[in-house]
């Protein structure tokens, strides 16, 4: 490449032979054409590698890892078995049946209980009082509803049409002072109103821990009348607010000694309710508890008795029938003797009890659970025989023997028949949510007629519907979804005998959508789990607490967070905690597409593998982690997880720490959860303000340890070694895809971080530069105010040099303006015609003829640089003024340009180019750019002598200095920049004469503008490259340290990267509109532009109003500039010879004028 040095003398005789275009030395030119192919090859290969890398990365994310459930996690099929060789232990009724003690025909009077003498003083009125009668004498159908079971509400919704009354468990009397606690549900109230049911809430004396509180009733019964009155008033008000038709009282475990007082209290309650048109119903337990109720006395005032004809064997009793036929009929016969038969509502059970051998309490199960257990144990059928006529069976689950007794539609039908035969007032369903759906069918069968084959057939098919069955216990769940109908055969025991019970035989058990639970763990085992982490604010604190207490926990983490904080993940594993996945971005798995769900699972797994060298088979679904999934929506993530080889871990103790209820409330929730048998605690270590979780954690751990529980990890609870739940990925077997995914994640991470770092640096530099330039410019202006008056100073002769190519339209004006200068000194005008194809040369020749100062030189089209070179050789004077053919000088221009030359070290002076045709927007943009870009920069740089370009449009040169610097070179497109930098290399001074104004013609269309800017950009690039040794070179002071780097960074790099930055900003804004950092960057850049524009306009005394153009410029102008710079860079790499403008030409023909 050509260097700035003295040109050989042979070149100076330009008039003799036209100088060839120095194509050998053209910057970036690749003469042998090797660069571009090489570059292309490199680009192709790296592009291919990158493409393959992306594919592999994506593959790693999309294709699932081959997770295998450890064999210890038993598959559903092999878990349940029929119980072999179990000895049938029949219960021997050695003693007389209890109900006989109570039946009216009993010879032994009630006085066998000697203590049952009335102790209270309350006297019951003897006269029968009139009760409000309900007009309808239809059969009562009361549904018992439990608010904590979503299944109960489902059943209510589906079957409200079959009910007449509803009894929800809303009211409690907890202490002996008569305090009433009520928890209503609006949705139930609405439904009741909607369907026209009579609301009779249940009032119980049951405490929060699930135990009956006899003192709650006894305190009322034995207490002062005032207390009773207050209680009755609060009860009535509550009932009225609910719009209830009355209340159902279920008071249990009351001391029978208080029988009389109890009856008195109930009478008072009844009277009070009746006064307001409400009813009092009373639950009557079948058993020794009956002693506490004076049924005869109560029958006068209580509207209905609800006979609890089930729980012959309750969950705390040894295995046995829930309501055997014998027991049922015995009690029915007994109680019917009290009161009117129509007063009696028979509560019929439809649920089951599953006794596990060795455990004290049975599990209450619903009909679908029963069917599911029977079906999956490969049972042939259930036992159903006299005298119990209650279905039951035995099975084995993981080595434990189970006995299961239940009540279904057939027992319901038999009991219903018996009840109707006694003309009872109706039935109650105990309870909604556990029932065999067949009972609704049974209810519809007409009581009056005998049962026919056709009637029974309706009960024979059992459809699973949408019901979800549960098998086993524990929080580790998998799912089976093979639904199918079941069949049972019904026959009458003795034909045509109305009173004979119906016999059933299950031939095929229905199969349901089944959730299989495992991992119940030891009774005192409890596990603590944290979701949504890691978070650098909370997780370390939590880890510290766990470490201090010596407790290990499990962390279900979100992939995006893990990726951000891998060191925390490593710490979690290092400190002995268990790790599970919680998806990548925490979406609701049920609502996203299956592909997205796969991606969520796999990406999270990859991240864990990459960070910890372990996989994990534990999964917890976001949002839905309840151990009893009830919506089909909740089942989707479980199904998916299973497919991919994960086991879903749910929770059953939820202190709701995300709601920040307070430490005491959280510990209370955990206490309740433990009492109900829960053993996995759900907490959060990220996803919001978690300081309360951190605060509560020590209290939670202390509480659990104080009550003697052992806090274990999930592997201990499930009974599977940790190495199987979190298998290590062996070093030697790290597959290529893992490497790719690791590097992929690392690369994404690095790119993101680099981007942010770059943005910060760029913004800072922009701010610094803006302030520096503005400051310098202002100082420069102030300094420049005190300038030499125009009149003083020498007025040396000047040569005005113009290179012209096809400028016929403007050349005459230009020349006239020059000649009209007010400059006192001698002016010579040299016009070099660069082979114009129009009449430019003719016009100049014509003018030269009449005006002696004008000289015309002609050459073939060799480019502007060559033309100028020719011109420089031809001019006579020392001071050479250069301008473009379309630039209009003012009269003062030449004088102003010449003035600085009084100082000998000045080698060149830049004038102030201004846009003379600001008509179109493009032109106005350029005008503003000239003002606040080029001119402002020059003002600022002038102070530090680091002006980078003296524009050919309006400038002046010292000829000797130019030749000393090597003259005009033709190896770049921006010969003016080249020359300026060469002059700087000689240590000469370059000045700015702001009063030397010249009006230039700016391209008015975007197309022309783009072409111009491409040329400028290419040229600048060439010059910067050619003079790259000046960059950061201290020798060149401000030029090397400030203005050249500034040109590189702001004019080339930032402009070229502009579109990419804009695209990233736009995408980020769309993805996370709330991310205010990006707005800041954007506004800082814009602010800098506006500031600079404002300063410039003020300095240059131009109208401030054009500053607003900065805004549209940002969106229209900038992209064009970027395009120009990018094209320039591309062409530079291609190594193509780029011409001066209108045509890309290579010299081949010489022309002799």
């Amino acid at each position: 490449m050509a260097r700035c040095m003295k040109m050989p003398d042979t070149q100076r005789q330009s008039k003799k032979s036209p100088p060839a275009v120095n194509s050998d030395s053209f910057v970036f030119l690749d003469a042998r054409g090797k660069r571009w192919p090489r570059l292309r090859l490199i680009m192709f290969v790296s592009g291919l590698l990158f493409f393959i890398g992306v594919i592999l990365f994506a593959q790693a994310l999309f294709l699932p890892s081959p997770l295998t459930l450890p064999p210890a996690v038993q598959q559903l099929k092999s878990r349940l078995k029929t119980l072999q060789n179990k000895e049938h232990q029949s219960k021997q009724l050695a003693t007389k049946p209890l109900w006989l003690n109570f039946s009216k025909g009993n010879s032994e009077p009630v006085a066998t209980f000697p203590f049952l003498t009335d102790q209270s003083g309350a006297v019951s009125p003897l006269k029968k009082e009139r009760r409000p009668q309900f007009a309808c004498i239809q059969e009562i159908r009361l549904g018992f509803y439990e608010s904590w079971d979503p299944g109960s509400f489902d059943s209510l919704k589906a079957n409200a049409g079959n009910l007449t009354h509803l009894c929800p468990d809303w009211l409690t009397v907890e202490d002996g002072r008569g305090g009433l606690k009520a928890v209503e549900e609006q949705k139930v109230l609405d439904l009741v109103k909607d369907r026209g049911l009579v609301l009779l809430p249940l009032l119980r004396n049951m405490g929060g821990e699930g135990a009956w509180r006899p003192e709650a009733v006894e305190g009322l019964v034995n207490g002062p009348v005032v207390r009773q009155d207050q209680f009755i008033v609060s009860l009535k008000n509550r009932l009225k607010t609910m719009g209830a038709g009355g209340v159902v009282i279920d008071w249990e475990q009351v001391d029978p000694s208080y029988r009389g007082a109890m009856a008195a209290l109930l009478r008072r309650i009844a009277l009070a309710l009746h006064a307001d048109g409400m009813e009092l119903w009373l639950c009557v337990p079948m058993g020794r508890e009956l002693r506490a109720l004076d049924l005869d006395g109560l029958a006068e005032h209580v509207d209905h008795f609800v006979a609890m004809l089930h729980d012959e064997n309750s969950e705390s009793d040894p295995p046995g029938p829930i309501a055997s036929a014998e027991w049922f009929n015995g009690w029915l016969d007994t109680i019917i003797g009290y009161g009117e038969s129509s007063q009696w509502v028979l509560a019929l059970g439809s649920y089951g009890y599953d006794w596990t051998e060795g455990e004290k309490e049975a599990e209450t199960v619903r009909f679908q659970d029963v069917m599911s257990r029977a079906g999956r144990s490969s049972l042939a059928s259930c036992e159903f025989e006299a005298p119990t006529y209650n279905p039951h069976f035995e099975y084995e689950d993981s080595g434990a023997a189970h006995t299961l007794w239940f009540l279904d539609a057939v027992t319901f039908l038999n009991q219903l028949k018996a009840g109707r035969a006694q003309h009872v007032g109706g039935v109650a369903i105990s309870r909604l949510g556990t029932e065999d759906p067949g009972i609704w069918q049974a209810l519809r069968l007409d009581a009056a007629k005998p049962l026919t084959r056709a009637n029974l057939a309706t009960l024979e098919t059992i459809k699973p519907g949408e019901a979800i069955a549960h098998i086993g216990r524990g929080n580790f769940i998998t799912m089976a979804d093979e639904r199918g109908n079941g069949v049972r055969r019904l026959v009458l025991d003795k034909k045509d005998d109305l009173e004979a019970p119906v016999i059933e035989r299950y031939e095929k058990f229905p199969s349901y959508l089944t959730i299989v639970h495992q991992g119940r763990g030891a009774k005192d085992a409890v596990a603590i789990t944290f979701d949504d982490g890691p978070d650098p604010k909370w997780t370390p604190k939590i880890l510290d607490i766990l470490k201090a207490k010596g407790v290990s926990a499990t962390f279900f983490m979100v992939g995006a967070n893990m990726e951000k904080y891998p060191s925390l993940v490593r710490r979690i594993v290092r400190e002995g905690h268990t790790v599970g996945i919680h998806t990548y971005t925490h979406p609701n798995i049920a609502l996203v597409s299956e592909e997205r769900a796969y991606l969520e699972f796999n990406a999270t797994q990859r991240v864990i593998e990459a960070i910890t060298d372990h996989s994990t088979i534990l999964f917890r679904p976001p949002y839905n982690a309840d151990t009893n999934p009830h919506d089909p929506e909740e089942l989707v993530p479980i199904k998916l997880a299973q497919k991919l080889g994960y086991i879903t871990v749910t929770e059953d103790i939820d202190p709701e720490d995300w709601a920040r209820p307070g430490v005491a409330a959280m510990v209370e929730n955990i206490k309740k959860g433990r009492q109900q048998g829960g053993n996995i605690v759900l907490l959060h270590d990220a996803g919001g303000e978690r300081s309360q979780t951190v605060e509560a954690l020590p209290a939670i751990i202390d509480y659990l340890q104080a009550r003697g529980d052992s806090i274990v990890g999930l592997s201990a609870m499930l009974g599977i070694p940790l190495a199987e739940l979190m298998p290590a990925v062996p070093q030697s077997q790290r597959s290529m895809s893992r490497v790719i995914s690791e590097s992929g994640f690392a690369a994404i991470h690095a790119v993101a971080e680099f981007f942010w770092a770059f943005m910060i640096v760029a913004t800072t530099l922009v701010v610094i530069r803006t302030l520096t330039v503005a400051g310098l410019a202002v100082r420069s202006r102030r300094a420049g105010e005190s300038g030499l008056p125009a009149a003083a100073g020498p007025h040396p002769p000047v040569s005005v040099l113009i290179a012209a190519y096809n400028e016929e339209k403007v050349i005459e004006q230009t020349l006239r303006a020059v000649l009209n200068s007010a400059y006192p000194g001698e002016i010579e005008v040299v016009v070099v015609d660069d082979g114009s194809q129009d009449v430019t040369a003719q016009i100049v020749a014509g003018m030269a003829a009449s005006e002696g100062r004008i000289h015309l030189l002609r050459q073939i089209n060799l480019g502007k640089a060559t033309a100028l070179k020719t011109g420089f050789d031809a001019v006579s004077h020392e001071i050479v003024i250069s301008l473009d053919a379309d630039t209009q000088f003012t009269p003062a221009t030449i004088g102003e340009l010449v003035r600085p030359f009084a100082e000998p070290s000045v080698a060149a002076v830049s004038g102030r180019a201004r846009v003379g045709n600001p008509k179109t927007f493009v032109a106005r943009f350029q005008s503003l750019e000239y003002t606040c870009g080029f001119n402002l920069d020059r003002r600022a740089y002038h102070l530090l002598n680091c002006i980078t370009v003296v524009p050919g449009a309006v400038s002046a040169f010292r000829k000797s200095a130019v030749f000393a610097a090597g003259g005009i070179s033709t190896d770049t497109l921006a010969e003016d920049t080249d020359l300026t930098l060469c002059l700087h290399k000689r240590g000469l001074k370059i000045c700015y004469a702001p009063r030397g104004v010249a009006w230039t013609e700016a391209p008015e269309t975007i197309r022309a503008f783009a072409k111009q800017r491409f040329r400028w950009a290419f040229g600048t690039l060439q010059c910067l490259w050619k003079h790259r040794d000046m960059l950061f070179n201290v020798k060149y002071r401000a030029l090397g340290l400030f203005s050249l780097p500034s040109a590189w960074f702001f004019n080339i790099l930032l402009v070229a990267l502009g579109p990419i930055i804009d695209a990233i900003l736009l995408i980020s804004l769309l993805m996370s509109p709330a991310n205010n950092i990006l707005y800041v960057y954007f506004l800082v850049f814009l602010g800098a532009d506006l500031l600079l524009a404002a300063v410039a306009c003020l300095i240059e005394r131009e109208p401030l109003s054009q500053v607003w153009l900065v805004l549209p410029m940002r969106f229209v102008y900038r992209p064009v500039l970027s395009y120009a710079v990018i094209t320039a860079i591309v062409k530079a790499s291609k190594g193509v010879l780029v011409g001066w403008g209108k045509l890309d030409r290579t010299a081949s023909v010489t022309y002799n004028a």
Binding site: P114, E218, G219, D255, R291, A706, R707
Partner: protein, 376 residues
């Protein structure tokens, strides 16, 4: 002063030297002892329970189920919440029928911040009263049949290490428990001592008591405070059955204990606390002048219209004034069903009035809610 001869001066020197040595040794000893004390003061060594000079410890048995041993943290804290005061003593049963030291229960009690009081009764399942001796009968115990169990239990107690109160042979002067003297010959005279007859029942009971305590002490379970726990009334009410006859001796007893109940059954009469406490208190205090007395069980049932609140309030009033030797009172909070179907509800909250009386009674500063310890 006379001139001292050289011989006298060397003797004087020896004396002075001797004194210095003695003083130094004494200082060393004292320093050495103090170092041990310092260690003990930090709570590192074995601890002993401090019986308060003024005041008495609160305590309760909180309805721990059929075997009186289903001790849960939640039950204890629920009682605390109900009565408004922390418990210093938590009492529960650990019957021989369970054949294990209740390690978990004592840990829960000590974690809660109370000292356990264990009724370590030689009783077999199903823990029915009025049944007479079962396999844990006294001759078998004395024959060594249950030595292994006693040793294992003692080891458990020793490993637990912290102070615990143990009552063996509770209410032996009655008839409802199988270890009572009434089942082992009762009033049959078997010998003489100091002019007093020795009776079969009480002698056997004392012998068995000493045997058990000796065995446990041999296993180095020194953290146990042994209690002599008698019933407030003797049944049958005969001279041979007096609690004095059952007293095993001061070396075998660390604390005296009494069960004092008001009306518990329908068949009983209603009495106030002092009526049932006066006589037994005097009798047991005569057995030893210094040993602390623990009201190891007390309570009264709810039998309206009788005023349970009054009983409780008066009990709390009388204990500090009339019965100052009582250093701890353990309330029996239970409701049970009797064989005839009636209920006995001794719970403090059997009625709101009773609960209020208990709450205000126990709130007094006289009742200390945390056990105090000192190095042993």
């Amino acid at each position: 002063m006379k001139a001292i001869s050289t011989r006298g001066s060397s003797a004087g020197m020896k004396t002075i030297l001797g004194c210095v040595v003695v003083v130094l040794c004494g200082l060393a000893l004292v320093a050495g002892c103090q170092r041990d004390d310092a260690a003990r003061d930090k709570g590192q060594g074995p601890q002993a329970l401090v019986m308060p000079d003024k005041g008495a410890y609160t305590g309760a048995y909180v309805d721990f189920g059929e075997g009186e041993d289903d001790v849960t943290y939640d039950a204890i804290t629920a009682f605390e919440k109900l009565t408004g005061k922390h418990l210093a003593v938590v009492a529960f049963g650990n019957f021989w029928g369970e054949q294990a030291f209740p390690a978990k229960s004592v840990r829960i009690v000590s974690g809660y911040g109370a000292i356990p009081l264990i009724y370590w009764s030689p009783w077999d399942r199903p823990y029915a009263e009025d049944r007479g001796p079962d396999r844990f009968n006294l001759p078998d115990i004395l024959a060594g049949k249950w030595d292994a169990y006693i040793d294992q239990w003692a080891d458990g107690a020793r490993d637990y290490g912290k102070p615990m109160l143990v009552a063996w042979g509770v209410e032996m002067n009655g008839t409802w428990f199988p270890w009572s003297g009434a089942y082992y010959g009762g009033g049959t005279v078997v010998g003489q001592k100091d002019g007093q007859p020795l009776y079969a029942g009480p002698e056997l009971v004392k012998q068995a008591y000493r045997y058990v305590v000796d065995r446990v002490r041999a296993r180095k379970a020194d953290n146990i405070l042994w209690g002599f726990h008698a019933n407030h009334y003797t049944m049958p009410h005969a001279p041979w059955n007096m609690m004095t006859n059952y007293y095993p001796g001061p070396d075998y007893v660390d604390w005296l204990g009494l069960s004092v109940y008001g009306k518990m059954l329908q068949s009983e009469d209603w009495n106030l606390f002092d009526t049932v406490m006066d006589a037994p208190y005097q009798e047991i205090c005569r057995l030893d002048q210094k040993k602390p007395l623990i009201l190891a069980e007390w309570g009264v049932g709810e039998f309206p219209p009788a005023d349970k609140a009054e009983f409780i309030a008066k009990a709390f009033a009388d204990l500090p004034t009339k019965y100052p030797r009582v250093k701890a009172a353990v309330y029996w909070h239970e409701r049970w069903e009797n064989t005839d179907g009636s209920y006995s509800n001794l719970r403090v909250n059997s009625s709101p009035e009773a609960l209020d009386a208990y709450r205000s009674g126990v709130a007094a500063a006289y009742w200390l809610d945390r056990p105090q310890f000192r190095p042993r």
